[in-house]
Subunit: 194 residues, 2 copies
DNA sequence: GATAATAATTGACCATGGTCATAATTATGA
DNA sequence: TCATAATTATGACCATGGTCAATTATTATC
């Protein structure tokens, strides 16, 4: 019962992704229409859904790839020494994620995998972010009373919170990063006096 | 330019909300259909959208009201002394929020207000949660190096994170609360040894 | 190379949220 | 009480994502 994937199918799928990526580059994520994609790819509508469970699945794929580009860039940098540098490293990615409300919604919706065996592209980038950030934290001047993985998970939680509040009111991106900084200082370099 | 709202309009709106609430009680949030609501309310489809910007706006209203019931219950309790008690206080609300994937998505989508002047029902409950939790934290045995409001915002960030990961894989709710506990211990009672 | 088996594609059709010009109702005021 | 304005309701219509039985293309078998 092994399904033999034909070359034709691989090409069709690639064409759909390419066409969709181009459309997004031109008009933004939220403006993408399935009809438009299949028309420009020269296939029928049903073909689209034979390749992707739904429109969201394709978006997840594309956004996941975009996030990975930012993570590549982040990974290429030196480990941050302090909170300020950590924020600088994450800034481009956070700006991308909040560049369009639609993007952020898709990301949040897919930040957790549906099934353990089948972890989606965006959930994968969350895992990868944890890896990268925890490796950074292990090298920097941060608290040592809890594991760096836990700290990295917290960084992610605060990043999501800062981004969610970014869409609140007329907050601009600079405010978002400031808020993020306040969180991280309290999280990564606490000085409790109970 | 003051719009005079007629009694008829108020009644129609109330009927739509009541009918929708009943339908949700019977079949769950995600199964709600606008067609069904207008049919049972005895009005035309267009009327629905004259009263609510979109289906999401009604959902926000109803879910916001439900959250407020949980907050009422939480507020009636004594302030928690430690992390365990804090989690106990928040447990029913978090269980509700994760009871249906659809509910959580709606909540996250509306956790930030669109405009400062017009803060939505769910965003209001987030504010209220911050108030309640920060008041609790001020009274309990928690770190004092940062403001209780900041700590409360962190509690919320970690709650969202724990809930998002809950949908990941086959994690059950117990695991969610355990994860939440780990976060909160590190956040609220740090013992750094830099 | 004929035939059977499997994979891939098709497009008419459906489900459902949302729009808007028009009609019906209610308030206003002389 | 009637004319006029303002408010509310209507439902045909549209936009768009998604389904599925039927069809076509490819591969395997002899």
């Amino acid at each position: 019962m092994i399904k033999q994937t034909q070359k034709r199918s691989i090409e069709t799928r690639a064409k759909l992704i390419r066409v969709a990526t181009e459309a997004i580059a031109a008009n933004g994520h939220s403006a993408l229409r399935v009809e438009e994609v299949v028309k420009n790819a020269g296939v029928a509508k049903g073909t689209f859904f034979a390749h992707f469970k739904d429109k969201d699945a394709l978006m997840e794929l594309i956004i996941g790839a975009q996030i990975n580009e930012y993570l590549d860039a982040a990974e290429a940098m030196t480990a941050p020494d302090d909170v300020d540098e950590l924020i600088t490293r994450m800034r481009p990615l956070m700006n991308f994620m909040t560049g369009e409300r639609y993007i952020f919604d898709v990301i949040v919706r897919h930040s957790g995998a549906a099934v353990k065996e089948e972890i989606g592209p965006i959930a994968q980038t969350f895992d990868r972010t944890i890896e990268i950030v925890s490796a950074w934290i292990a090298q920097g001047q941060f608290r040592k009373d809890v594991s760096e993985v836990l700290l990295a998970e917290g960084v992610q939680a605060f990043a999501v919170q800062a981004m969610a509040l970014h869409f609140c009111a007329i907050n601009n991106q600079e405010e978002m990063h400031l808020r993020f900084k306040t969180y991280l200082q309290a999280w990564l370099t606490p000085t409790p006096t109970k």
